[in-house]
Amino acid sequence: MIQASCPGCGSSITFKFGPSVVLVCEFCRSVVARGDRNPEDLGKVAYLVKTDSLLSIGLHGRYQDQPFELTGRVQFRHEAGGVWNEWYATFPNDRWGCLAEAQGRFYFTFQCRVADPEALESFATLTLGALIFTLSTSAPLTVAEKGIAHTISAEGEIPYRFVPGVEHHYANLSGPHDEFATLDYSEDPPLAFVGREANFAELGFPHAETSSTISQVEAQQLSCPTCGSALSLRAPDYTERVTCPSCGSLLDINQGKLKFLRVLDQKVTPMIPLGSVGRFDRHPPLTVIGFLQRSVEFDSIRYFWEEYLLHAPLMGFRWLVRKNDHWTFARPLPPGKVTTVSQEALYEKKKFKLYQGDTAQIEHILGEFYWRIEIGEMVVTTDYIAPPLMLSHEVATSAQKTEGKSNWSLGEYLTPPKVEKAFNLRNLPRPWRFAPHQPYPHAKVYEYWLQLSLIALCVGFFLFFFGAQRQVVQQTYQLEPIKAGEESVVRFSEPFTLQARQNVEITVTASLDNTWLDIVGDLISQQTDEAQGFSLTLGDYRSVERSEFFWTEGRRSSSVYLSAPEAGIYILGLDINWHNQHSQSTLFTLTVRQGVPRLWHLVLTILALSVVPLFVALRHYYFERQRWSNSIYNPYDSKD
């Protein structure tokens, strides 16, 4: 702890933490550097811009099992207009980390040594989307953003030589497993800060100290400088541009002050009114704060869609997109989590197919936005689909590859009823065309088919292996040639007992040689005199043609299946004919079994279960063709 006097106002100042290099005097806002002999005055900083940050100097937290204290903060202004906070956390043993807080998201990084600083590209040559291999991370990081920020304010103790009003050239990198890094080009070679995106709960702040701050986040009331109407900002700490609902003026917001830019044409009415609160699964209530209409031109035709900007204090921003009356709920993704290869994108091991790429233009805007939005602002968009999901990539046309931000978002298809439920709306128009990422509505039938077929197989397995299969009787008959004038031989079997609820299989087997055997018979109940008829024909023919071709026809064994009779004693009556029956004898064996499993029934069942899925699959094929018909990457297009 070092005590000194502020060179600006003479007040007593104290450097409490070892890593501190400068301190902001809380009385005169001078930035004071800790010198070898006397403190050095580096200039004054402006007052802090109010943000809805939940954090404050002196707050204790715990990150990756290490306690820390927030000891300083610097506020930066983004080129697009937004303000973000960088908090400096002091850990035991004078180690410090940087906790960046932007749009409700947190990034905890620590300065690290770059093994090969010469391998790092200069700020001028670094391109968006490039992979950086030189930082000691488990996977290469993607350049997600590149820009110039200005320091606007600070407080507390800062662990580096902070000079007010200086430009900072920086590049933000993103990795596949929430890794995050910043290259700070204010020095040569650039400084590297490596860490990861963290959610608020991971920062280990005491709930009581932060929850009181949450309740303070509320709408801010302003007056339109053009018409004087009341203007309510629903996300006041992020909003950079807002439109006046009364006069349609586009207003720029600079530290709470409104500046008139131009009057907008307000012909478009959002389907979901601004200020509406939507409740989606796994999300806090989201307020519609902005609405914009975009368009793309294709074959000289302009196609329009709408985007609603949603905001929740602790979560940041989400988008709800309406295109051809299909809806998509989208959330931003760290660019490093997405990998593109040829015509595919990979996100969390899921493959997305390239669907469309175009240049979109903003046509109308209403409400408030977290960047300096402009009518006519253009972005290059690329969409990849894996229904019901869509990955969208956007880069501002003015900033392609050189500087700016590479934005990825993950959208999930929503049906109009789900949007109606979320916003408590009624009668949203129903879509009539196919959406690129619309899931095929009957795909669940395949799952049902699989489940039903598995149940059928289980039942079949049970019948085959645990059924009451048993042999009831087996009898061999030797028949002598019959007398002239008689048509057939009649034989009755010995009586046998049959059980109820088991089918009956009657099999006849004979050693035939170029001859046939025909049996017409009845299963006769001894108790009721009821007869269940059946017939069996056997034949076996074989020959050698031209000493080369051996052929056979017919069969030496045949079975017939009868429905389960009532339990009781039965006999078989057999009326038998055979080839040359007046001159030749014949021999056959008759077997009766009960509870015989029927493979054919199982096959028929699965075939019957497959009829509807087959039609569903045919429709699915048509659906997929229609889906891709609007894509220039149509895999069904034979021209490719």
């Binding site: 039903l452 019948l463 609820r501 088991q502 009821e530 269940q532 008829g533 080839h579 029927r598 569903v616």
Partner: protein, 60 residues
């Protein structure tokens, strides 16, 4: 709608298969007939029963 229809028809098909399997039902059997006592006691009577109920038949 299609899903509901398929669940209902698929369930019915499964029930039918289970019912057939567990009751020993077979399809395509001719109707049962009462057979006179003399027909099941003598070959001649049985042959006559067949001739009347099944008609004449041809061998291969």
């Amino acid at each position: 709608m299609v899903r509901k229809f398929y669940l209902i028809t698929g369930g019915a098909i499964l029930l039918l298969y289970s019912w057939v399997g567990f009751t020993g039902k077979e399809f395509g059997n001719p109707e049962r007939q009462k057979i006179p006592a003399d027909a099941r006691l003598s070959p001649g009577g049985y042959r006559s029963f067949h001739t009347w109920h099944s008609g004449s038949r041809e061998g291969k």
